[in-house]
């Protein structure tokens, strides 16, 4: 099961796309670089999941997808655990929790953000580039299309793999080199399909009136609500926590 947007009406869904993006970004940075211990990290993740649960976020697909990074978690845990003398369980657990946290935040963000919200966020992020003459809107569009087609291409690769297996290919045995060699034929049809699809998409967009230079209005208007004012405190708090060690002696 792939993680994708699932409509809902909870508090997390109602947030302004910029606030959602800021929370996701700050939380990912927070989980990536903080130095908190295992128990603190577990508590934060548990609190985060509880908030998601209260917001009616469907977490089952995200939990199912954790299986995909299980091997990565174990490897990171082992490396971090053996970094000290003997095996440090707390260090291993903390490292695993950091990766799990990043994964969960990204998963929840994708689950609660619709396509138009993602587009809005990317566009807003790229807007400053317009000041130096770069095509900000088009760059945002490219990003959104790439994100949108990622699962499509993945499922295409899966289909081609199954088509090969159905015709007698053995892709799962023979070591890493053999597996890598078996993956090579996947590259060409996937790339071909991606280029064909890109061509068709551009024609379809133009046929429906898309012009690069045209001024466009928005189908959906996003308003800043009271809930957003409180929610903005989350990224502020997270960045303050991260920056605290640098200013420890100042105040």
């Amino acid at each position: 099961m792939q993680i994708s947007y699932k409509p809902g009406s909870g508090a997390l869904y109602r947030l302004h796309p910029m606030v959602k993006g800021a929370i996701a970004f700050s939380a990912i940075v927070f989980f990536s670089v903080n130095t908190l211990g295992f128990s603190m990290m577990t508590a934060i993740i548990a609190f985060m999941l509880l908030c998601c649960w209260f917001s009616g976020v469907e977490l089952s697909d995200i939990f199912m997808s954790v299986r995909r990074i299980l091997l990565l978690l174990i490897i990171v845990g082992l490396i971090q655990g053996f970094a000290a003398d003997g095996f440090n369980v707390a260090a291993a657990g903390a490292a695993m929790m950091r990766i799990l946290g990043v994964f969960l935040v990204a998963g929840v963000y994708v689950t609660v953000s619709s396509q138009s919200e993602l587009t809005f966020f990317w566009e807003s992020c790229f807007r400053p580039l317009g000041l130096i003459g770069l095509p900000a809107r088009e760059l945002a569009l490219v990003m959104v299309i790439a994100v949108r087609f990622f699962p499509v291409i993945l499922s295409e690769i899966d289909r081609i793999r199954m088509a090969q297996i159905a015709r007698g290919a053995r892709l799962d045995g023979g070591g890493i080199l053999a597996s890598a060699a078996a993956l090579m034929p996947l590259m060409i049809p996937t790339l071909t399909q991606a280029i064909i699809r890109a061509g068709e998409l551009s024609l379809a967009m133009e046929a429906r009136g898309y012009r690069v230079t045209a001024q466009r209005s928005r189908y959906q208007r996003f308003r800043f609500g009271i809930i957003d004012i409180f929610a903005v405190l989350i990224p502020v708090l997270l960045f303050a926590l991260l920056l605290k060690p640098f200013f420890a002696g100042t105040f």
């Binding site: 089952s60 199954m162 996947l186 049809p189 399909q193």
Partner: protein, 271 residues
């Protein structure tokens, strides 16, 4: 070569979701075995289970009374199989399955050429072409030929007629019927009208489970009750003219079936 493929209380799951519940019955050689149902009824899932790609199920699948092993015994042609070409030439594409069975190029060539001919493609013209250079109908034929060249006892087709014109659909339906003498042919389709003409059985999947039908019986049920299965509108109007009254139920299913088939042929010829 198998005579039949039996499903014994097959219940398919994905996590906590039950996708197919307690399927029983069997598919046989010598006829086209249709699987129909509305979108999301589990048709493609059933094919994936039979092909061995989805292993989360209870119950058993048996071929001639012995537990069925998909590997090497089955071929699955996906929906829009022409989107899944992964070789640079028609030669490589059609011969891939034999190459995987460690056959040499010299052995593969005569088999592949005659197989292409069987599927209505001229090997002289297209042998060195890129698969994507062929026309729509040719691509479909090449894709299906490539899936079946190694003569698996069981062949699964997911929507093989979708996107073809009436003439192409008819030709392909006849090819599939021809294949059924040597393989157990299982076809998943949204448009069973053309294939209903062939001899066979039909497995109808719905939200509560499944039901097996004879084609004429299925057609009759669909004509009487539009909610049962959505047949094309022209089908209903053809039958309306035939019946000239609203008392459809007393009409014999076979008569309706024959009349509708005749109308369909006329329709296709006009096109």
């Amino acid at each position: 070569m198998f005579e039949n493929l039996a499903l014994n209380s097959l219940t398919v799951r994905y996590g906590r979701h039950v996708l197919l519940n307690n399927l029983c019955g069997s598919f046989s050689r010598g006829q086209i075995n249709l699987v129909v149902g509305r979108a999301g009824s589990g048709k493609s899932t059933l094919l994936r289970v039979l092909a061995g790609f989805h292993k989360e199920y209870d119950g058993s699948i048996e071929a001639d009374g012995v537990t069925f092993v998909p590997s090497g015994n089955i071929s699955l042609a996906f929906q829009n199989p022409e989107a899944l070409f992964f070789n640079g030439t028609v030669e490589d594409e059609v011969g891939y399955a034999l190459k995987m069975r460690r056959m040499g190029r010299d052995e593969i060539e005569p088999i592949a050429r005659s197989w292409l001919q069987k599927w209505g493609l001229d090997p002289e013209k297209c042998w060195h072409s890129h698969p994507l250079e062929l026309s729509g109908g040719e691509k479909r034929r090449l894709a299906l030929a490539a899936c079946t060249i190694f003569m698996p006892p069981v062949v699964l087709f997911d929507e093989p007629l979708a996107g073809l014109d009436a003439k192409g659909q008819r030709a392909l339906a006849e090819l599939l019927a021809g294949m059924s003498s040597e393989h157990i042919v299982i076809v998943v389709t949204h448009e069973p009208e053309i294939l209903l003409e062939q001899r066979g059985t039909l497995l109808y999947l719905h939200s509560e489970g499944c039901r097996w039908f004879k084609p004429a019986e299925f057609l009759r049920n669909s004509l009487i009750d539009r909610n049962f299965f959505p047949l094309p509108e022209w089908y209903h109007s053809a039958v309306g003219q035939f019946a000239q009254s609203s008392d459809l139920p007393p009409i014999k299913a076979d008569e309706v079936f024959r009349y509708v088939k005749k109308r369909e042929r006329m329709h296709a010829d006009k096109l």
